[in-house]
C-alpha cells in the first residue's frame, strides 16, 4: 500500500493484513493497525494471543506469511535494513551482556545501529542518566537488581534514538518502583516524538499509557480504537460479580428470564461453579431482583462485588474470558 510523504510524517508504524502461520496453526490472522509520531499504541491480549509474534514480524525476526508491515515507510521485508534502523526493540526477555559493563552494553548497541564518535558518547551519557544508572555505569549487569537490568534493557533499545519503539511486555516481573520508572521513561520517549508499540496483558498499564489500543485474541484483532472509544462501547455499565455456589443451567435460565422481563442491558459475562459475572447499567438498583433470581434456583451468594466497567470488562465481554487467563 503506497503512502505519501505527508501521511508518513504522521504514521510511523503501519501493519496491514499481517498474518503469520505455523503450518495449520494461525498465530496472527490478518491484523491491521497503524500508529503515529508521538503516540503510544497498545496491543493487548492474554498470553499466546499473538502479540509477540506480531512484534517479531515487525522487528524482522519472523517473516510474515502474508500482509505487510512498514516502519517509517520502510517495508520490513523488502527494505528490512532501513526498517530495522528506524526501530528500537525492547524485548520481553532481557537481552544484555551480563559480563560487559553497563556503559559498554549501551556503546555496543549504539554502534550496532550505526552510532559512533562523540554523538555516541553523548547519547550514552544521556541514556545512563535517563535510566538512572550513571553511578553504576562501569558495573556489570550481573551485579544489578532485576529492576536495574530492566532499565538497562530499555536503555539499550532506545540508545540510537529510534523513531519507532517496540516494547514487548516490558514490565513483566518488575517491582512497582521500577515499573513506575519505566512508565515515566516510556512517556518521556513519547513526548520526545517517538511512536511506541506497547504490548501488555495488564489492562491498567494500557489505560494509563496508551493513546489508542487494539485488543488481540487467538491472533485476531477483536477491538480497536482510543481508550475513550473503547470505553464508550461499554456505555455506563457496571460489572457485578457474585461469588458463592450456583447451579449452572438453572442460573443461566433465571438470568435470561430477567433480561426478558425488561432488563435489556443486562448481559451475562461469565459463569463458573463459584462465581457469576454480569454487566448492566445502574446495577445497585437491580440487585434485589438479581439476588432473588439467583437464590431462587438454589444458588447461594456469599460475596458481592460491584465496580465500574473498564477495558478488562470489554475484553471479558468480547472474549468471555479474563485477560490474564
Amino acid at each position: 500500500m503506497p503512502y505519501s510523504d505527508t501521511v508518513w510524517s504522521v504514521v510511523m508504524l503501519n501493519v496491514n493484513e499481517l498474518s503469520k502461520n505455523y503450518g495449520d496453526f494461525v498465530a496472527v490472522d490478518r491484523i491491521s493497525f497503524s500508529a503515529g509520531k508521538g503516540q503510544i499504541f497498545g496491543l493487548l491480549g492474554p498470553n499466546g494471543a499473538g502479540k509477540s509474534t506480531t512484534i517479531n514480524c515487525i522487528a524482522g525476526l519472523l517473516k510474515p506469511t502474508s500482509g505487510h508491515a512498514a516502519v517509517a515507510g520502510h517495508d520490513v521485508v523488502s527494505d528490512g535494513k532501513a526498517a530495522r534502523g528506524n526501530l528500537g526493540v525492547v524485548p520481553q526477555e532481557l537481552a544484555l551482556y551480563e559480563d560487559l559493563p553497563a556503559v559498554e552494553n549501551l556503546r555496543f548497541w549504539g554502534k550496532a545501529y550505526g552510532l559512533g564518535g562523540p554523538a555516541l558518547e553523548q547519547r550514552v551519557t544521556e541514556v545512563l542518566e535517563y535510566i538512572g544508572l550513571n553511578d553504576r555505569a562501569k558495573d556489570l549487569p550481573k551485579e544489578f537488581s532485576g529492576g536495574m537490568k530492566r532499565r538497562l534493557n530499555f536503555g539499550c533499545g532506545i540508545v540510537h534514538r529510534p523513531p519507532v519503539i517496540l516494547l514487548d511486555e516490558p514490565t513483566v516481573g518488575v517491582d512497582p518502583q521500577s515499573r513506575a520508572r519505566l512508565f515515566d521513561m516510556v512517556e518521556a520517549e513519547r513526548d520526545a516524538g517517538a511512536c511506541i508499540l506497547y504490548t501488555t496483558h495488564y489492562m491498567e498499564e494500557a489505560e494509563r499509557l496508551c493513546d489508542s489500543l487494539a485488543i488481540i485474541d487467538h491472533g485476531k484483532l477483536i477491538a480497536q480504537g482510543t481508550v475513550e472509544e473503547l470505553r464508550a462501547k461499554l456505555g455506563a455499565h457496571d460489572v457485578l460479580q457474585l461469588s458463592g455456589h450456583f447451579p449452572v443451567e438453572s442460573t443461566k435460565q433465571a438470568i435470561a428470564a430477567l433480561i426478558e422481563r425488561g432488563n435489556a442491558d443486562l448481559e451475562f459475562l461469565a459463569q463458573e461453579e463459584d462465581s457469576i459475572t454480569l454487566t448492566l447499567s445502574n446495577a445497585s438498583q437491580h440487585l434485589p431482583a438479581i439476588f432473588e433470581a439467583v437464590t431462587g434456583t438454589g444458588g447461594n451468594v456469599t460475596e458481592t462485588s460491584l465496580r465500574s466497567a473498564n477495558l478488562e470488562t470489554l475484553f471479558l465481554l468480547l472474549t468471555g474470558k479474563e485477560l490474564r487467563e
Binding site: D99, A112, L140
Partner: protein, 406 residues
Amino acid sequence: MTFALTSFKKDIARWRQDYLATLIWISIPLMTGGLITTLMGSDVKPHGTLLLVDQDQTFLSELIVGAYSAGELGELLSVEETGFDEGLERVNNGEASGLLIIPEGFATAFMESEPVTLVLRTNPSQTILPGIIQNVTEILLDAGFYAHQLFSDEIETLTSMTDDPSDAQVAAIAVAIQNKMESVAPKLFPPVIEIEIIEPPPAEPSQPLALLFMPGIILMAVLFSANGLAGDFWREREQGTLRRIVFSPARISEFLAGKALAATVVIGIVGGITLVLGFLYHGIAWSKLPASLIWIAVSGVALFAWFAALQMLFSNRKTASVFSMMLVFPLLMAGGSFFPLAVMPGWIAAIGRLSPNGFMAGQLTTQITASTAWAIGLQGWLIVITGAVAGLAICAWRLRAGFARA
C-alpha cells in the same frame, strides 16, 4: 567492517572478565605436560647407589670396587663403601640400589680356587639399577673364572711365594702374562668371525620424547580454548543478545567475523603462552616462534568454527556442551596430546594424524623440529585455512537459518 571491530572489542572485553576459564585452559595442559614429561619424557639418566662392604681389603677386592665405578657404569652408579650393619640398614630402608658384601679371605680363596661367596642384596622397590648391578657382578665373576684358567701358572707362582716377590720375579710373571695375552689376542680382539659392515642410511636425528609431547600439549590448550569460546554462541542466544543483533541493522557476517577475530586472538594468547614455555623448556630457536604462533592461532580459529557449528546444530545448550566435551577427549587421545603420535603403533598413529588436532600437532612438530624458521608447507596452511573458512561459513548459515532468532 566497522561493526566487526566493535564485535571483536566486545568479545575481548567479555573474555577479560572470564580470567578463570583462561587459567583452566592454560593450566590443565601445562600440568598434564609437566606430569608426562616428568614421568616419561625426562632425558635425565637414572642414578643409583651401590653400597659396598669390603671385608677383604685386598688388591682383588679393590679391583671389583673399581669395576663398578669405571666407564659408563660409573655414570649410573655411585659406589659407597660402608660398614655391614649400616649398609644393611640403608638398603633395607630403600636408600640404595644394592649392597655387595666381599667377605674376608675372598682374594686368597680366588687365588687358590677355593669356593667363596659374594653376597649381593638388592633393593626390591627398584627394577632397573639392581638388575644392572646383578648382571655386572655375574660378568665380573665370569671374567675372574676365565682369568683364573688362563693365568693359573702365574697365580700358582704368586701364591706359592712366602716372601714378597723380587723385581725379577715380578718382571718374569709380567712377561709371562704378556705372552699369554698376545697369544690369545687374535682370538679375542678382533673376533674370529669376519663381519661385513654395511653402512646404514643416515637416520634422522631422534628427538627427545618430551619434545615430541610438546605439540600435543599445546594443541590441548588450543582445543580447550576453542571449545570454550565456541560455547559463547549458546551463551549469547540464552541471554537474548543474538536476537537483539537480528533486530538491529548490523550484519550477522560482521558480528561473526568479530567473534572469530576475538577467538583467534584469545587462542593465540592461550596457545602462545604454552608455546613460549615449551620453547624455553626445550631451548628451541626463537626464529621458529612466529610461524608456530600463527599456525596455532589459525588452527585454533578453525577448531573454534567447527566446534561452534556443531554446537549450533543441537536444540539446547546442555546437549551441545556435553557432546562437545565428549568430542574433545577422544580427539585429545587420538591427536597425540597424551601419547605422541611418534610413539604410537603405526596404525593408531595413522588414524591420529587424520584427526584435526593430530594433523595440526604433526605440522607443529615439523615446525619446531625442522632446521628452518618456516617449515610448514603451503599445503598444510591451505588445509587449515580452508577448514577455518568452511567452519565459519557453516556458523553463518546456522545463525541466519534460525539459531539467532530462536
